[in-house]
């Protein structure tokens, strides 16, 4: 078995064992998932994206995808990339969006020792210590922590030499791909179990067709995410991320909508687990650039190369 599959299988097993609905509910109430964080650290998952981890960066993103499958209530994307860019995993560090002298949308700022602010345009950023008193707490639509904090005196410039913003966006792409797969599985399972009119609702053609549409979107999202991960460190990375974030984001809306329809009122309850997944893809499609943002970037590039060359662009990479 190759390294990636081994990592995926290990992550799958550990996340299944340590992330259940109770853990998700607690995190969404604002309790930092301390035990889960310890398990992640014990297994070295937080160091996977570091230059000396011995693991291919692409494989690290494959693990992020597995975390997405489990709606893991830890900011794996931000943790992995913060440790990579700090070249240290000594303390909990996370990432947000640099806006002048503040950093926005920082997960679990109150639990972190260090926060990185990444500039969306310039691909550079700062590393700052965190002052707990000055944090403004906020949540995204999935009740994931997205705090605001100031850049403190003594903050360091990061001096990044890789496309940080695109890598963060890729993190959301990978997370969504995993999460969407799970939403489909939950929906298939529910459709086979729920009975109405004396038979499982999966026997109704309307349900079958809705789920076939969902499967198509999930498969497309999955293939798009794989392609963007494969493009890491390549010359077309930014454009591949643009295509993937746009495509996966579009799938997210369709899949979440249909999954709720198939689940009926049960899926609308807080008690059912579906919403942990659907709310996350709703949130993630908007973070680090929504579909329109990335479509426009990709579209501007293609307009720039011109009508006679667009096919060449599309056909250049398998």
């Amino acid at each position: 078995m190759d390294t990636r599959q081994l990592l995926i299988d290990t992550a799958e097993r550990i996340f299944s064992d340590h992330c259940d609905k109770a853990v998700l509910d607690a995190a969404e109430r604002g309790e930092f998932p301390e035990r889960l964080w310890n398990v992640v650290r014990e297994n070295g998952f937080h160091e996977l994206a570091m230059a000396d981890s011995g693991v291919d960066l692409k494989d690290a993103f494959a693990v992020i995808r597995v975390a997405g499958r489990h709606a893991l209530p830890l900011p794996m994307v931000e943790i992995l990339l913060a440790n990579r860019w700090l070249q240290s995993s000594a303390e909990l560090a996370v990432i947000g969006r640099l806006e002048g002298d503040r950093i926005a949308d920082v997960p679990w700022a109150g639990n972190a020792k260090r926060a990185l602010g990444i500039d969306w345009e310039g691909a550079d950023g700062v590393s700052t210590s965190v002052s707990v008193e000055e944090i403004g707490t906020a949540r995204n639509v999935a009740a994931e922590s997205r705090d605001g904090l100031p850049v403190m005196a003594g903050a360091q410039p990061l001096g990044l030499n890789e496309p940080a913003f695109e890598m963060l966006a890729l993190g959301r792409v990978a997370s969504m791909a995993g999460c969407l797969e799970r939403i489909l599985e939950l929906s298939l399972q529910y459709a086979n179990e729920r009975e109405q009119f004396g038979r499982p609702i999966s026997k109704f053609q309307a349900i079958q067709h809705n789920l076939a549409i969902v499967a198509g979107e999930v498969a497309a999202a999955s293939r798009a995410a794989d392609a963007a991960i494969d493009a890491l460190e390549g010359d077309r990375f930014a454009l591949e991320v643009a295509a993937a974030k746009a495509r996966v984001g579009e799938a997210a809306g369709i899949v979440a909508e249909s999954a709720h329809q198939v689940h009926g009122a049960m899926g609308f309850t807080h008690e059912h687990q579906l919403h942990h997944f659907t709310r996350r893809v709703w949130a993630w499609r908007d973070e680090y650039g929504n579909e329109a943002f990335w479509q426009e970037r990709l579209g501007r590039h293609l307009a720039g190369i011109g009508a006679e060359k667009v096919w060449d662009f599309l056909a250049t990479r398998g």
Partner: protein
């Protein structure tokens, strides 16, 4: 019970040597611009025998077939490169398309030596064209319900019945016709056979049917006591159902299942100019993002086929998704291109109109959207 999503689209890329072949095709197309006066990416549009013969001469028809029968013994991937380049350029491929994609492989797999020798090399040369005779007035999605009969007589097969929607029957040379050779029984799939009909000489009556685009591409083909020789049957009598279903994956996941509207995209980019407004740029990006994902899924299926797997459900999924996208593309483009004074964009509007009028067929031919969703649902364990 925990349900796992079973559909698999491997991370397969086209082989390293494909750029050379790709460049060769592009060079060829640049030199043959007389055949590309009105580019259309729909595989069913553009009957141009002279162009097909030129492709045949280059070895680009029957590419994967044995050399013995005029093929080039190249890989499915190489065939993929050639077909997608032709479609993207909007080349007129409809004359040889079905023979290359379907009829040749069918004859190679199930035909007799004599049939292979007689029919396959002219296909590879781009000289002999085939139609598919499956649908009938009362047989559409429910293909097993065909009523056209063929009775064995001392002199051959006596055919009676009507085929409908037969693309290019009025222009092509042969039709591989799905017929009942045995009376219907409890097993609906038994008693079906495939017979080669010579459309020019056997005496079937062919009547072209005008479509909404105003062209005559598909036909009604009527058989009244049409007698064809014994040796026209393909494979064992009664094996027809296995034969028509065996090639579905090949038929369904090719680039023609998501590129039919591609020229509209090219004209959208042209109309946008170098520095479009955000919304127009976003429309271009949205379409491109879909295309990139679909193309990779389609190549994944090609890879699984090359690998000897039979990804029937994956192929149905790619076709379904691709066909819906072919309809989405013109709609997205249409609303993105500026209208009003000074915004003529004639090339865009012409290409858009040509494609729009063909678009209803995208989700019908080769298995309707609804039938494909049924196949996917079965693959998901729902039926």
């Amino acid at each position: 019970m925990v349900v796992r999503f079973v559909l698999q689209f491997d991370r397969i890329s086209l082989p390293e040597d494909s750029p050379a072949l790709r460049a060769e095709v592009r060079e060829f197309l640049a030199a043959e611009s007389e055949h590309l006066a009105r580019p259309n990416s729909d595989f069913g549009t553009g009957h141009d025998p002279a162009f097909s013969r030129k492709l045949g001469a280059r070895g680009w028809i029957g590419m994967t077939w044995p050399k013995q029968y005029g093929g080039a013994e190249r890989s499915f991937f190489e065939r993929y490169v050639v077909t997608e380049e032709l479609l993207a350029a909007g080349a007129p491929v409809s004359a040889h398309w079905i023979a290359d994609r379907q009829s040749g492989p069918l004859l190679l797999r199930f035909g007799t030596d004599a049939q292979r020798e007689a029919y396959v090399p002219p296909i590879a040369r781009g000289e002999s064209y085939f139609s598919i005779g499956m649908s009938e007035p009362n047989t559409g999605s429910d293909l097993a319900s065909v009523r056209t009969t063929a009775k064995r007589t001392g002199d051959g097969w006596l055919i009676n019945g009507t085929k409908l929607w037969t693309s290019e029957a009025h222009r092509n040379h042969y039709m591989i016709t799905l017929v009942r050779t045995d009376a219907p029984s409890d097993n609906r799939h038994a008693g079906l056979s495939q017979i080669i009909v010579d459309l020019k000489n056997d005496g079937a009556r062919i009547r072209p049917i005008r479509n909404i685009a105003g062209s005559e591409d598909f036909n009604e083909v009527v058989f009244e006591d049409v007698l064809v020789p014994e040796d026209r049957i393909v494979g064992e009598p009664g094996n027809g159902w296995q034969q028509v279903t065996s090639e579905l994956a090949y038929e369904r996941a090719g680039p023609e299942r998501f590129l039919s509207a591609f020229r509209v995209f090219v004209e959208l980019v042209r109309a946008a100019g170098e520095a479009p407004e955000p919304q127009l740029a976003a429309a271009i990006g949205r379409i491109a993002a879909h295309l990139m994902a679909l193309r990779r899924m389609s190549i994944s299926v090609a890879g699984m086929l090359e690998d000897g797997q039979s990804p029937e459900v994956e192929a149905a999924l790619v076709k379904g998704l691709g066909n819906d996208f072919e309809k989405l593309l013109p709609e997205v483009a249409r609303l993105a291109v500026p209208t009003g004074p000074g915004a003529e964009h004639r090339r865009f509007r012409q290409t858009f109109a040509d494609t729009l009028l063909l678009s209803p067929a995208f989700t019908i031919r080769g298995g309707t959207r609804e039938i494909l969703r049924g196949v996917i649902a079965r693959g998901l364990g729902l039926r």
